[in-house]
């Protein structure tokens, strides 16, 4: 807790959980929100600059690293970077091959992007919770929440992307009629139960992206809150809890990235299957 004792724990926690929001305020017009209140008043027409910035930075890091490894990739003896990249590559490729039963060469790259991107975004959580808020405060920026996956907008955004792909491939593979038929006649293959089936299937379909997004967000957000709470302890006691929690989170970070990726692939696989 860098600011000392003059701030209350509640304020400290809230401050750390507030995104840097730029949007159209009813009174101030397009501006940065200076409080959680203002951010809320902006409604939908606002954007979290920190979430976007850090997530795009992590995405670019992924693209840059893997592109670099791909460029220098030789069939001979691989270097260290190439080794790591190839390990991740093969892990994702094998996972995709095991879970995806359709015939689509774009699914594996999609899974790779999801996995590494989410992994990088999650990994930002290992950085001490005070460093970046404090640094940006010195630079005159009020809020800075660096872990994009603790923002439901980010996880919902990615899940929404996956959802679009599910719809796209369902229609592409089965046709509009086939997709509608699948929604109408499963699980009960009887015309009288079409409304019930539709209700069930559409809910099931819509739940998919929400379950994806909320699982990742929930895990990351909860972990972040714990880190912030630990940071409220006296400075000499922080490491006692912080270190075990961080080590435990190395597992969570990878696991959540993996779960998001595999579930996306499973959903897309289901979208490719005929019933």
């Amino acid at each position: 807790m860098a600011a000392g004792n003059e701030v209350s724990p509640a304020y400290y926690i809230q401050h750390h959980l507030q995104n840097l929001t730029f949007g159209k305020h009813p009174e101030n017009g397009w501006s940065l929100a200076h409080s959680a209140e203002e951010a809320r008043e902006m409604g939908f027409w606002a954007i979290h600059l920190d979430t976007m910035g850090w997530s795009i930075a992590m995405g670019l890091l992924f693209i840059w690293l893997f592109r670099k490894a791909g460029k220098v990739a030789t069939t001979g003896v691989p270097g260290t970077l190439q080794n790591i990249v190839e390990m991740v590559f093969e892990f994702i490729e094998n996972t995709t091959r095991a879970t995806f039963h359709g015939n689509n060469s774009k699914i594996a790259p999609l899974a790779l992007t999801l996995f590494v991107w989410i992994l990088f975004m999650n990994t930002l959580k290992i950085l001490p919770v005070d460093y970046f808020p404090e640094l940006f405060k010195r630079l005159g920026v009020d809020y800075m929440k660096i872990v994009p996956t603790t923002d439901p907008n980010a996880t919902l955004g990615m899940a929404f992307g996956v959802f679009c792909l599910i719809i796209y491939y369902s229609i592409k593979i089965k046709g509009v009629g086939g997709f509608a038929k699948e929604l109408s006649f499963t699980p009960f293959n009887h015309w009288a139960l079409i409304p019930f089936n539709l209700l069930l299937e559409i809910v099931a379909l819509l739940v998919k992206p929400f379950s994806l997004a909320m699982r990742l967000f929930g895990n990351m957000f909860a972990g972040e809150v714990i880190f912030i709470l630990i940071a409220l302890l006296p400075f000499w006691a922080i490491w006692l809890l912080d270190v075990p929690w961080a080590i435990f989170h190395i597992l969570i970070i990878v696991l959540q990235a993996f779960i998001f990726t595999v579930l996306s692939v499973v959903y897309l696989s289901a979208a490719h299957e005929h019933h």
């Binding site: 795009i56 992924f62 592109r67 069939t75 490729e93 594996a108 790779l112 994009p148 990615m158 929404f160």
Partner: protein, 156 residues
């Protein structure tokens, strides 16, 4: 924790990253990996082929060695036989030569003897003539004749 445009922004970013990955990240790594896999498989294949070749070559070598050994012993045997033959032939030749020489020598001896006999005969007749002259000139003394005849005989 407000839901706002960040959601859409994140979706767009996601779409762009996925597109970039499909287009520029996945293919080179995938190609390199499969090429390396193929290279390793080829290498292993070549190694096993080479070891099979080596085995074959070793077999061939031992076979050749065996053959050459047999050949060598055959040649040796032949040479032995030949040398024995040559020795035999030489011996035969020598004996024939010896015989020829012996025959020649004998013929010469015979010839010589014949000549000596001719000579002797001529001398005997001459001596006989001389003896008869002597007998006719001197008295017929048994003793003297005896002596003369002895001399004559000794001279023969």
């Amino acid at each position: 924790m407000n839901i706002n445009m960040t959601l859409i922004g994140q979706t767009i970013a996601f779409a762009i990253f996925v597109w970039f990955c499909i287009k520029y990240v996945w293919p080179p790594i995938s190609t390199a990996l499969y090429e390396r896999q193929k290279k390793i498989a080829d290498g292993l294949d070549a190694a096993s082929r080479a070891s099979r070749d080596l085995e074959l070559a070793q077999e061939q070598a031992s076979k050749t060695l065996q053959e050459s050994k047999e050949q060598a012993s055959q040649i040796l045997e032949q040479a032995n036989k030949r040398s024995a033959q040559i020795v035999e032939e030489a011996r035969e030749q020598a004996r024939a030569e010896g015989e020829r020489l012996l025959v020649g020598a004998r013929a010469e001896i015979d010839q010589e003897m014949q000549r000596a006999k001719e000579d002797l005969r001529a001398q005997v007749s001459h001596l006989a003539v001389i003896g008869a002259e002597r007998i006719l000139e001197g008295s017929v003394d048994e003793k003297a004749h005896r002596k003369l005849l002895d001399e004559l005989a000794a001279e023969l």
